[in-house]
């Protein structure tokens, strides 16, 4: 028997789970951690029916919940996370490509993203793949909009610097 509110949970999952998954995977670089945090977010929503009451931007609100939970998790597992990044045992947040050149670019991009500080990576992800404005990013990450914009610029500069040779090469072809 379905409980009241199940359809609302399903709607929220279908509307936002993909975006939250990609965001969390980019932050944690671990599929098991991503699953734990994603589940934690939906469990939190299910437990507190009033949590989303009065929320204007569902996506931004859910990203905030996911981001906070991911930060908590990463702090708890700080040492393990650093080791994982150093050993490049990271899971790419990008879909596999059939074209080898494209696959190389995605792998390099994933590695370049992994080298970014977490706060810059979060902003870059939400701007580039979440399509959020700096105001929405600021609201989601609880930072000032100017901070969001400057973090994005730092992140893009680093990515460009890191990927320039490969990018220029691919552009010429």
């Amino acid at each position: 028997m379905k409980m009241p509110g199940d359809s609302e949970l399903e709607r929220l999952y279908d509307a936002h789970a993909s975006a939250l998954y990609a965001f969390l995977l980019n932050l944690t670089r671990d599929e098991a951690d991503t699953r734990d945090v994603l589940q934690e977010v939906f469990v939190k929503i299910a437990r507190d029916e009033g949590l989303l009451r009065g929320v204007r931007e569902e996506r931004a609100f859910l990203i905030r919940l996911a981001h906070n939970a991911a930060i908590d998790l990463m702090r708890r597992r700080g040492t393990r996370e650093r080791v994982k990044v150093n050993l490049a045992e990271v899971l790419s947040p990008f879909a596999p490509a059939s074209d080898p050149d494209e696959e190389i670019f995605r792998n390099e991009l994933a590695a370049a993203l992994a080298e970014l500080p977490e706060e810059q990576r979060a902003v870059a992800h939400l701007k580039l793949w979440g399509g959020l404005t700096f105001e929405a990013i600021a609201s989601a990450l609880e930072i000032p909009p100017n901070t969001a914009a400057s973090r994005y610029r730092y992140a893009i500069d680093k990515l460009r610097e890191r990927l320039r040779p490969l990018y220029e090469e691919m552009k010429q072809e």
Binding site: Y13, A22, Q39, V43, R47
Partner: protein, 146 residues
């Protein structure tokens, strides 16, 4: 921002992201439903006024339970003392109003004496003031001659 930068951002932002594993949907939603089902009875229990009062009292007393217990003990002592002294007063009053037969006899004797004194006072008219009754002038002259 130049055109090259925009192209780079477009190229990077156009990379497709990994899709969320389809089997997670059922598992995560089931976990969320289970969590909600666990939460419900607690929520209902919290709605009862007794639980709210208990929670409020616990929250009030929790920071310094020994201090509150000491204060309560002092108040109990004060109330007990107050009740004890309050009950003692009427008992003493009742005790003092009880009369012994000797006292009754003495009282009756005094009453008798008082009654005799009053009767004796009423029989003598030495101190009674004489009333002035005016007489006719003719009678007054006769009296002077006589």
């Amino acid at each position: 921002m130049n055109n090259n930068d925009k192209q780079f951002e477009k190229r990077v932002g156009g990379q497709p992201l990994r899709a969320v594993p389809s089997e997670w949907r059922g598992e995560i939603l089931a976990a969320a439903r289970a969590a909600r089902a666990e939460e419900r009875p607690v929520a209902v229990a919290q709605e009862s006024w007794l639980a709210i009062v208990q929670r409020q009292v616990a929250a009030l007393l929790w920071p310094h339970p020994k201090a509150w217990a000491g204060l309560a003990a002092v108040w109990v002592g004060i109330i007990a003392l107050n009740i004890a002294t309050h009950e003692g007063a009427p008992r003493a009053a009742r005790k003092s109003t009880t009369t012994s037969p000797e006292m009754v006899a003495e009282l009756r004797k005094q009453q008798r004496m008082f009654a005799e004194l009053v009767r004796g006072y009423e029989s003598t008219d030495a101190d009674r003031p004489r009333g002035f009754v005016p007489r006719p002038r003719s009678e007054r002259v006769e009296a002077e001659v006589a």
